[in-house]
């Protein structure tokens, strides 16, 4: 049972949240894309081994969506940030390529 740092409610157990996969995938203009590009938006999401910026929604609490960095190997949690704010640097990106915590 990991804890997720909701920016509004603080650290809460993961069962209060729903997972939203990779963060920062904006809804594109559907009419400007080929089938290949459109389906990339539909179906491809990052799946890294290491730090991932991902989305969560606190459905059992404030109901708000937010993003955070999390390490998919260690489950360490990095900075959380609200939608439409600047994404903080990945905790792993400090001079190390593909670092695994």
């Amino acid at each position: 049972m990991i804890q997720i740092p909701c920016p509004h409610c603080g650290l809460r157990n993961e069962t209060e949240f729903h997972y939203g996969a990779e963060a920062g995938v904006a809804y594109p203009d559907p009419n400007a894309l080929t089938d290949s590009e459109w389906t990339k938006y539909l179906y491809i999401r990052a799946n890294p081994k290491g730090w991932l910026a991902e989305r969560w929604v606190h459905f059992a609490g404030c109901g708000r969506w937010f993003n955070l960095w999390r390490n998919t190997i260690t489950h360490d949690i990095g900075p959380a940030y609200l939608p439409f704010t600047t994404q903080p640097k990945s905790p792993g990106n400090f001079g190390q390529e593909g670092s695994e915590a």
């Binding site: 049972m1 990991i2 729903h18 009419n31 459109w38 989305r55 929604v57 969506w65 489950h75 939608p83």
Partner: protein, 900 residues
């Protein structure tokens, strides 16, 4: 100490209240407790605690739990148990015990109340932190308890500090991310007892701690030699404790085999308790320190560079004599003994640390894997951290060289009956990884998860692989690493983890405010998600089909009423609400006039229909959306996701009001007449109140909103009222309704009525692969605007021909209801050479229609809309039904009744 009597394998024994059953059995002379699982060899008690590999018992009294080590059973009077040969049994009698859970958030969790744990707790308390201290034994002290020494007063005082919570018999079974610990507290003094009424017998602790201190201590490990499994061969610390503390007097002569100074300490204890210690056989070349001195002072013979090679047994299979081998000369000699106390070294308990992915480090100095992890949040203490007490110099020695015959009875995992021979075979087969070895030999897979056998395996493996490789005298355990341990640290009954989540508490039950009325009216219920919905209302003597027919007739010819309160309702407000709905729904909603309702369909970005419902415009910037019963939460989540993560500039505010507003559907040609008696303030006539309009009014001063929405296709009025007033309104309808022969109807009738009109049910006539076009709803797809999912209709497969399309089906035999889910083939379909029959679709909804006087169905058929009139086949087992494809609307195609 109170004397108690208990029975084991139907023999009565005496013991002391609270002492371990293993001690009482030993004291009574029972050396051989059971036979081993696969080899049938006699086995006895080996250890002191949960590391016990042999003495597994089945409780006959109390909760009748199985596969428990006798070392952890605390005696009470009249306890009964029996031995097991490694296979547990599950009693068929119901488990009456109660189990529960507790959640704790603590500053510091200290795992282990031995000296190191108590010292760590003390330090934390001095730093002003609140401490939770847990230990799996009935009392604190760890090894001090084993040697019957009192705690120093400083440590004793820790336990009574105001900021400490101490729980005995509380075993940490799992360490998880972010300092989450699961622990099991056995809340009564032993599992053989029934708990007092209202007490849980096992409580699961969910602990989140800012800091965790791991002070679990260590187990002794045995040695690998021939016939090392006989009753009377025990870990030396356990043997000494049974003799010196628990008064076990059955041993007259003992031999001690050791690789460290612990063997000397235990030899001295045995000696002072009256056992004749024939000798200490130490694999090391020399040893020093107070315990060695004490052994010499007691006159115990000591021989270095020697160890046990083999043992012989008496008639009962218990240990009778020991063969000692000089490790340098290889010469052997015999010693008679009925107790062989083995000190193969201390193995710190690394399990919990490995749960979280910490890799223990091999220390040659300690001849052990240690966890020296130390951060603010998690640290180890005591033996786990390498604090072994100071005066020792253990040797990483696991046993003498054995030939192949000897290897076959040199046990590594006593529960699994796996021997050195099995290990050699594994290595010979090409396996080198410790994980392979484990799977090949099953070492470490028994109830004890290899607590005493794990390190032995690693040590023996090093010797084997080292021998095979040229130039390398031996691999080091550092190269092998530990076995992977997994939660739970000890076996835990399923029921403990199930806790209170049983029966009706296993999932919440959702009911409407009319539920009690339905119950009293004799409704038969169905589960729709978590909701209980009336399925049908049988009158005395009616079967389901009778009730449904009666309800359908009432709805189409008289007036009937249904509780539709479970439908999802979402209040949507804001200046951009209309624009937002245009993006969400496939059809236009911004053009919907105030006071009117419109049916809408919504698709995911992949173009697939996922929910539908009628949405009403209550004001310029105010809509009330309805969703399917099962889809309510999903749809609200969908709306919020778009608003918050894609279109934050849209000013739209959504609120779930599913449980604020109850909905009563009054349906049938006489519905207007009945309702007008109740609703006097507004004109319900067709011109004043057309189909798909809504009006506010009051009933007995209660504000209600009535909408002319019809899922049945009849003249119908949906009364929306606050949840807590619903029962009142419902009963008012019923009081007036008797004059109209008002009939309650349930979900089955609702299904029939809507199917007669060709109205889909999401999740029944759709299966997550339909576009609106597949459902013959191209009319609902706006050409004028962009909406979620539209782009995907252009994908090749979504616009291909041959897709399944929603059609109606009329069985040739009017009375034959085609089973739902049945697959449809062409008229004369045959099996191919693989035994398969090609299908062209399947039946989604199928009922008997009293209105039509016959059976009918809805189906998804490949290119169905181009196949009107085609006769098709529906194979059901050995029979074949026949049906004709037709339009999906069966009744009142021009909607005259609905719009009346």
């Amino acid at each position: 100490m109170r004397e108690v009597r208990f029975s084991f394998d139907d023999i009565i024994y005496r013991g002391h209240q609270g002492e371990p059953m293993a001690a009482a059995l030993l004291r009574s002379g029972l050396l051989s407790i059971t036979n081993s699982t696969y080899h049938g060899r006699p086995r006895g008690v080996v250890g002191l605690g949960v590391e016990e590999p042999n003495a597994l018992i089945q409780m006959v009294t109390g909760a009748q739990e199985s596969m428990l080590p006798a070392t952890m059973i605390e005696l009470v009077d009249a306890l009964a148990a029996r031995s097991l040969t490694g296979i547990g049994s599950l009693p068929e009698s119901p488990d009456e015990a109660r189990y529960d859970k507790t959640n704790r958030y603590v500053d510091t969790l200290v795992i282990g109340a031995g000296v190191a744990g108590l010292q760590a707790a003390d330090e934390q308390l001095r730093a002003g932190r609140e401490v939770l201290l847990i230990d799996d034994k009935p009392g604190p002290g760890g090894h001090l308890r084993d040697v019957a020494l009192d705690l120093p007063s400083a440590l004793r005082d820790v336990l009574t500090h105001k900021n400490i919570t101490y729980r005995s018999r509380c075993t940490a079974v799992g360490l998880y991310d972010q300092n989450y610990v699961v622990a099991i507290e056995r809340r009564i003094d032993n599992p053989g007892n029934s708990a007092p009424p209202g007490w849980s017998r096992i409580r699961v602790w969910h602990i989140r701690a800012d800091r965790v201190v791991l002070a679990p201590g260590a187990f002794q490990r045995p040695l690998i030699f021939a016939n090392n499994d006989r009753p009377g061969i025990m870990l030396s610390h356990a043997a000494a404790t049974y003799v010196a503390v628990h008064g076990v007097r059955i041993f007259s002569r003992a031999v001690v085999a050791t690789v460290d100074n612990q063997g000397y300490r235990d030899a001295v204890r045995l000696h002072h308790a009256g056992v004749q210690v024939q000798g200490i056989y130490d694999a090391r070349p020399r040893a020093g320190g107070p315990s060695v001195k004490a052994a010499r002072a007691a006159g115990i013979p000591i021989r270095f560079r020697s160890t046990v090679l083999d043992t012989a047994s008496n008639a009962e299979g218990a240990c009778r004599s020991i063969t000692i081998q000089d490790l340098d000369t290889k010469e052997t000699f015999q010693k008679d003994a009925d107790l062989l106390a083995v000190s193969g070294g201390w193995t710190p308990i690394v399990d919990l640390a490995t749960h979280i992915g910490i890799k223990p480090q091999w220390s040659e100095k300690h001849a052990a894997f240690l966890v020296s992890h130390s951060t603010d949040r998690l640290c180890s203490a005591g033996m786990l951290a390498g604090d072994f007490g100071g005066d020792d110099d253990p040797l990483a020695f696991f046993g003498p060289a054995l030939d192949s015959t000897q290897a076959r009875c040199a046990y590594i995992d006593l529960q699994r009956d796996t021997t050195l021979h099995d290990l050699r075979r594994a290595v010979g087969a090409g396996l080198q990884s410790i994980e392979h070895i484990k799977r090949y030999t099953t070492i470490g897979t028994a109830h004890d998860q290899g607590k005493t056998s794990g390190m032995l395996t690693i040590g023996a493996l090093c010797q084997l692989i080292g021998d095979d490789q040229s130039g390398i005298s031996g691999m080091s355990p550092a190269d092998v690493g530990t076995l992977s341990y997994r939660p739970p640290y000890v076996p835990v009954p399923f029921a403990a983890f199930a806790g209170r989540e049983r029966g009706q508490l296993s999932d919440p039950i959702r009911i409407t405010p009319l539920h009690q009325w339905h119950v009293e009216a004799g409704a038969v219920f169905e589960d729709v998600g978590q909701w209980k919905r009336p399925w049908y209302f049988p009158r005395p003597g009616e079967q389901m089909e009778d009730a449904v027919r009666r309800e359908c007739v009432a709805a189409r010819q008289g007036v009937a009423v249904m509780d539709a309160s479970t439908l999802g309702k979402i209040d949507i407000q804001g200046p951009d609400a209309a624009v937002f709905l245009d993006l969400i729904y496939t059809n236009m909603f911004s053009t919907l006039p105030e006071g009117q309702c419109r049916y809408g369909l919504m698709c995911k970005t992949d173009g697939i229909v996922f929910d539908d419902g009628v949405t009403t415009r209550l004001g310029k910037n105010h809509f009330l959306m309805t969703t399917t019963t099962g889809g309510a939460a999903r749809v609200l989540a969908w709306l919020e996701e778009w608003l918050q993560t894609e279109w934050p500039d849209l000013k739209v505010y959504c609120t779930s009001v599913t449980e604020h507003i109850a909905t009563i559907a009054l349906v049938g040609p006489k519905s207007r007449q009945l309702l007008q008696e109740l609703v006097t303030d507004i004109d319900l006539s067709k011109d004043a109140f057309p189909f798909m309009h809504t009006r506010f009014t009051t009933i007995d001063g209660i504000r209600v909103r009535i909408a002319r929405i019809s899922f049945s296709g009849e003249l119908a009025f949906e009364i929306n009222v606050a949840w807590s007033y619903a029962r009142h309104v419902w009963e008012r309808l019923w009081a007036l309704g008797s004059a109209y022969d008002l009939t309650a109807y349930g979900t089955e009738t609702m299904h029939v009525l809507r199917a007669e009109k060709g109205y889909i049910i999401i999740g029944q006539d759709t299966d997550g692969t339909q576009t609106p076009y597949d459902l013959n709803m191209s009319w609902i797809v706006s050409r004028k605007k962009e909406f979620i999912g539209k782009r995907s209709f252009q994908l090749p497969y979504l616009k291909a021909t041959g897709r399944p399309q929603l059609v109606g089906l009329l069985p040739l035999n009017n009375d034959e209801i085609i089973p739902e889910g049945a697959y449809i083939t062409v008229h004369n379909a045959q099996k191919d050479e693989y035994g398969k029959t090609r299908h062209i679709g399947y039946v989604t909804s199928s009922y008997y229609s009293p209105a039509l006087g016959r059976a009918f169905a809805l189906a998804l058929v490949d290119d169905g809309l181009s196949r009107m009139g085609e006769e098709v086949a529906v194979p059901i087992g050995n029979k074949v039904l026949h049906a004709t494809i037709c339009d999906s609307v069966f009744i009142d195609k021009d909607n005259i009744r609905r719009d009346s």
